[in-house]
Symmetry: C2
Subunit: 201 residues, 2 copies
């Protein structure tokens, strides 16, 4: 019996996954949580063999939850599952100690397959995404550029960013300019979009 922990903020999706995995004779869902900061406690309580974590969750990010979980219960294999096949997520998931990465576009059999393979100690990675990840490479943005850009996500003015980051307005503009150049964009909004799509934030 493979004991599985599910973490996904969308209750409907989580329930459906549980139903699907429950159909398999060798898989048992032993815990379900809806937020990243509930993962560790639930895992300690139920000692699952495999944890299936969504990236998008309230409270604690799925990737951060993976770090916690991997540190506290190394025997528990972590699979990261996400809606968006952004190349950067894959690299960050692997860095976080995950052994598998599944996008929600994949056919359903992939998920049960992934659970079984992870349990067997294998790595599970979508080959298309892996290729794309290597092609795009790591983020070309520097730390500050990423900071500034992710603060600019919700559309604030330069003055707002400067106040939030304790920088001069000129500095903020410079970082934005650099980010715009590196992303091949012509506007800060476009740069935000590109960076988001590549998982660089």
């Amino acid at each position: 019996m493979i004991r599985v922990l599910l973490a996904d903020d969308q209750a409907l999706v989580r329930g459906a996954f549980a139903a699907m995995l429950g159909l398999e004779p060798d898989i048992e869902v032993v815990a379900q949580v809806s937020a990243g900061d509930e993962v560790l406690a639930a895992a300690r309580r139920t000692t699952p063999d495999v944890a299936l974590l969504d990236v998008q969750m309230p409270g604690l990010d799925g990737l951060s939850a993976a770090v916690q979980l991997h540190a506290a219960l190394p025997s528990c294999r972590v699979i990261v599952c996400t809606t968006f096949g952004r190349p950067g997520y894959l690299a960050r998931a692997m860095a976080a100690g995950a052994v598998g990465f599944v996008v929600k576009d994949a056919p359903p059999e992939h998920l049960v397959d992934a659970v079984r393979r992870a349990h067997a100690g294998l790595r599970v990675v979508d080959p298309v995404l892996a290729a794309e990840s290597l092609a795009h490479g790591r983020s070309p943005l520097t730390d500050r550029e990423r900071d500034v850009l992710s603060c600019a996500r919700d559309g604030g003015t330069v003055a707002d960013l400067a106040k939030a980051l304790h920088l001069s307005e000129g500095t903020v503009r410079n970082h934005l300019s650099a980010a715009i150049g590196k992303t091949g964009a012509r506007t800060r909004a476009e740069a935000v979009r590109v960076a988001e799509d590549n998982g660089w934030l």
Copy 2:
């Protein structure tokens, strides 16, 4: 037996929904499609009692697919299902002829409930979302303002928008300014975000 058609672009989610619904003794999934423009053909072929459509789909929008389906097979009840509980979506789904609206945050039982109720001729609407929808009201944006704002989504410059919409730059700026005012934003990017969150695009 309630015959159900599933439309969702995320194969994993779609398969999981099918597994969950398949567990119910009175429900049968007779068709699964991954794009909006496949809905009509599949429905004609399988004559489902209930169609469960995701809003986000490639090809044809789930809401547009609902319009088509409702016009061609009025006997097929349509339930719209979406990740984002944006108030505007609810109104648009109802206008598109849907009888139900379910967000993916809802508990799993809601979905099977919704299918049964829709089949029984009842309307199914998340009460929280309905209240919010009434509170926010209909979009305050005029047609051109919506056009301009949705073109501005990907971060192009004013000149780009003007060229795309065959307008003067000044006109574009004016529409943007109006949209910014009506959304309570201070930047065009912020306005885009607010309008998206309310389903006004």
